[in-house]
């Protein structure tokens, strides 16, 4: 029954509409409570910005894909080395660090919850094993369904209820959290050497289009009453002129959930490109932002690009092949049986490269042009756009026009003719940054019901205390202080325990894995469905009975049970 009292904290908590009040926060047993008497520990947070723990709603930190990034880029391990110190393990790596490296660096920035953006269900064990060694954060895993043959068959048959049953079985078998579609249909077509250019192209071997996959998946997702919506990586990523495809996709999304969004569209920066080739490549962030502003049922994350070395990794195999043809560096390509595929290549984003400079500007434009910060989440699609350690710089860029202009001057000189960024005056406020880094994620992922993203009685005591005095800091001018302040917390608190103090992590946080278990009626229980079992045992290299991830892989975990409407 450990108790903790944080005194005089300057709190911004957008979910509770608290915008900069000095207050005390009491914690008992890992939860926030009304008051504690004789607390075991007292923290004086006088003059320090106190926010709910950060949530990253799209990052790649664990799993086979990340691990393959590690072993195909041994040179990455030469950066970011730290030796063992106190309770901290040795770490290494910059864009694809060790699990402890990820965990410590996120914790240092005040992040307490992470969503792994793409987990192939067949390779879920590896993801969960790495989650266990990401000790400072609660982890969740989006589960890939873009090329799942049982799901595609159900969509072709027009049987959305069966599709929902299949999603339910896979999610609970893989101990996943949400439904992820990566280039729906395209990754599947890549298995046959093809790709799809947009949502109306047919898919080999099935009589359906990506659009049908997206819409049916959204319907099935809502039948299961999952906390999160469908999490979509649109078709045609990273190609000049792909913004039309993104707009068409958004236009076709039905609004069928009144509690939260119906679609989470991820790393939209990579989907907001104009032009017909790399020569006339330009930003179409304004068109995309206008479309998002009109559609309250869509939430996006920016997928900001920052300059420097990184590793791109995605289940979008054909896109990585295109990148390989641009860079001629090393490339990995991977096919996952009945489910999906993936690709990885290392890249360097350069300021003097016009395309890279435009990509950088597009991410910022999206964040500034989408009016509602609740529907535009700050993320770099770590490590695809940049490693997450760049988040403080992104925040400073969004909060300071002066810093943006200063950075802009160092870019390729033609950038200004291709982007709208220099004309945008908006500077985000403290509240908006708080929304875009934790509250919006908590709402979009449906985690508010599970006590995340806010600081009132009953919530999980995940708290980030930054050494930033909001009253004396003008973010528009003191952007260096913003970067330093958001880079290293004074205290990061996870379930009521201080896990990171000024960058030094102090103990193994009692983290957990969150996973969903939708309860469906026996008619849609795939573990008893003869056709499913037969198909599974015939086409997978794993027996169906051996496929589900056992709970022993998870350690401490939270099962999010839902009642499906089928």
């Amino acid at each position: 029954m450990k108790t903790l009292l944080i005194k005089n904290a300057f709190v911004i908590d957008p979910i509770q509409h608290i915008s900069g009040e000095t207050m005390d926060i009491a914690v008992r047993n890992g939860k926030i409570v009304d008051d504690v008497k004789n607390p075991d520990e007292v923290i004086d947070a006088q003059g320090m910005l106190t926010l709910p723990g950060g949530i990253d709603s799209h990052t790649h930190i664990c799993g086979t894909k990340v691990n393959f990034g590690r072993y195909m880029s041994p040179e990455d391990m030469r950066a970011g080395r730290t030796s063992r110190k106190g309770d901290m393990h040795a770490t290494a790596g910059y864009s694809v660090p060790t699990t402890y490296g990820n965990s410590y660096r996120y914790s240092r920035m005040g992040y307490t919850t992470l969503l792994e953006g793409a987990m192939a269900p067949m390779e879920a064990r590896h993801t969960h094993e790495e989650f266990r060694y990401t000790p400072m954060q609660d982890c969740l895993a989006n589960t890939l369904f873009d090329g799942n043959w049982f799901a595609l068959q159900a969509i072709q048959d027009g049987d959305t209820k069966r599709l929902a049953g299949i999603l339910a079985w896979y999610l609970s078998a893989a101990k996943g959290f949400g439904v992820k579609l990566t280039n729906p249909g395209g990754t599947e077509a890549w298995g046959f050497g093809k790709d799809v250019s947009c949502i109306n192209d047919p898919i080999p071997n099935f009589d359906i289009t990506p659009l049908e996959i997206i819409v049916k998946m959204i319907e099935a997702n809502e039948m299961l009453n999952l906390p999160h919506s469908v999490h979509l990586h649109c078709n045609n990523l990273g190609k000049p002129g792909n913004y039309m495809c993104t707009l068409d996709t958004y236009d076709a999304i039905p609004d069928i959930n009144d509690k939260r969004q119906s679609l989470y569209s991820t790393h939209v920066q990579f989907h907001s490109y104009g032009g017909s080739s790399w020569n006339d490549f330009c930003s179409k962030a304004e068109d995309i932002a206008r479309s998002v502003n009109d559609k309250p049922h869509i939430v996006i994350d920016t997928g900001q690009v920052m300059f420097g070395k990184t590793t791109t990794m995605t289940a979008d195999g054909p896109m990585e092949f295109n990148l390989y043809r641009l860079y001629h560096n090393k490339w990995s390509n991977h096919d996952i049986e009945m489910e999906t595929g993936s690709g990885i290549i290392p890249v360097v984003y350069r300021k003097k490269n016009l395309v890279n400079a435009i990509m950088w500007a597009i991410g910022l434009e999206l964040a500034l042009l989408v009016d509602d910060p609740w529907r535009c989440i700050l993320a770099t699609d770590n490590p695809n756009g940049a490693p997450f350690v760049k988040y403080p710089e992104v925040m400073a860029l969004l909060m300071s026009k002066e810093y943006r202009d200063k950075e802009f001057e160092t870019l390729h000189k033609s950038t200004g003719r291709r982007v709208a960024l220099p004309a945008i005056e908006r500077e985000l406020t403290w509240d908006e940054i708080a929304v875009m880094t934790r509250s919006a994620q908590a709402r979009a992922l449906g985690l508010i019901d599970y006590g995340k993203g806010y600081l009132s009685e009953g919530a999980e005591a995940d708290i980030a205390i930054y050494p930033i005095d909001v009253d004396s800091t003008d973010p528009a001018r003191d952007y260096e202080r913003i970067i330093n302040g958001f880079s290293t917390t004074e205290y990061t608190i996870k379930r009521g325990e201080v896990v990171c103090r000024r960058g030094t992590c102090t103990l193994e946080g009692n983290h957990s894995t969150y996973w969903v278990k939708p309860h469906v009626s026996p008619a849609y229980d795939m573990s008893k469905d003869a056709a499913f079992i037969d198909g599974f045992n015939r086409y997978y290299s794993i027996r169906r009975a051996n496929y589900p991830v056992g709970e022993e892989y998870l350690g401490r975990n939270v099962c999010m049970e839902t009642e499906a409407s089928i």
Binding site: S73, P74, E75, D76, R78, R84
Partner: protein
């Protein structure tokens, strides 16, 4: 002029490697400096491993001469980031000798272990004995190996000599092992003896083999006979798996059966 003599003490387990990247001429300029070396995860003082003798004074690294005596075959990273002066090794030396060095001279009277002069930028390494694998190469995953300077090996070299080499010169007076100059981008690699499968994926630079190249790769094009220092030699261009901008001169070559 400063002379530093480091004599390796008798060690209970002489095969345990010691990481001694602090041994560079520049570091001895500061009389206050403490020298630490690593044995596994234990940090030791340099006097735990070496008898240290310092004579004279020096104002710049160029005036410092370090002599390493005794069984130094498991002392690693000697001369890392060296930027001037001289290191003389009387016996053998461990892995990663002369990593990233930019100037100065390292002379090894015995043999060198792997990764001799990896990613070096300048200066000279003279090895009177043999060198093991990866002399003058880049480390795992690195795109550019040696970028400048000279490595001269009087004996044989192991496999992958000059891997991803991007400048400078390597001269091997004996034989080289398998795949010398693989991924070479620039610079010159000279092998006086034999080797096998030279310069796979070569995208630039030059390789000269005065002995026999066994298992010559079929992705190089024979450009006919020429002469270097009045030696009859065949010129090849390639590797056409890459852009074919490199050149190999081979005195004798044999293709795989």
């Amino acid at each position: 002029m400063m002379k530093v003599i480091l004599e390796v003490k008798e060690r209970h387990k002489p095969n345990l490697p010691i990481e001694a990247e602090c041994i560079t001429p520049k570091n001895f300029l500061d009389p206050e400096r403490e020298f630490h070396v690593w044995k596994g995860n234990k940090e030791l003082d340099i006097t735990d491993i070496f008898h240290v003798r310092k004579d004279g004074t020096a104002k710049s690294a160029e005036q410092v001469e370090i002599t390493i005596r005794g069984d130094s075959s498991h002392i690693k990273r000697v001369g890392e980031y060296m930027d001037g002066g001289k290191i003389l090794i009387e016996g053998d030396i461990g892995m990663h000798c002369g990593n990233f060095m930019s100037a100065g001279l390292i002379e090894i009277n015995g043999n060198a272990d792997s990764w001799l002069g990896r990613e070096m930028h300048g200066g000279k390494i003279l090895c009177h004995g043999d060198a093991m694998d990866y002399a003058g190469s880049g480390y795992r995953g690195e795109k550019q190996g040696m970028r400048g300077g000279l490595i001269e090996i009087m004996g044989d070299a192991g496999d992958f000599a000059g891997e991803t080499m991007a400048g400078g010169e390597i001269i091997i007076h004996g034989n080289a092992g398998d795949m010398p100059g693989v991924d070479i981008k620039d610079g010159r690699l000279t092998i006086m003896g034999d080797c096998s499968r030279p310069c796979g994926n070569m995208s630039g630079g030059e390789c000269r083999i005065f002995g026999t190249a066994y298992d010559m790769l079929p992705t190089f094009r024979n450009e006919g006979l020429t002469a270097i220092d009045s030696v009859q030699i065949t010129r090849f261009s390639g590797d056409y798996m890459s852009r074919g901008l490199g050149t190999i001169y081979v005195a004798n070559c044999k293709y795989m059966d």
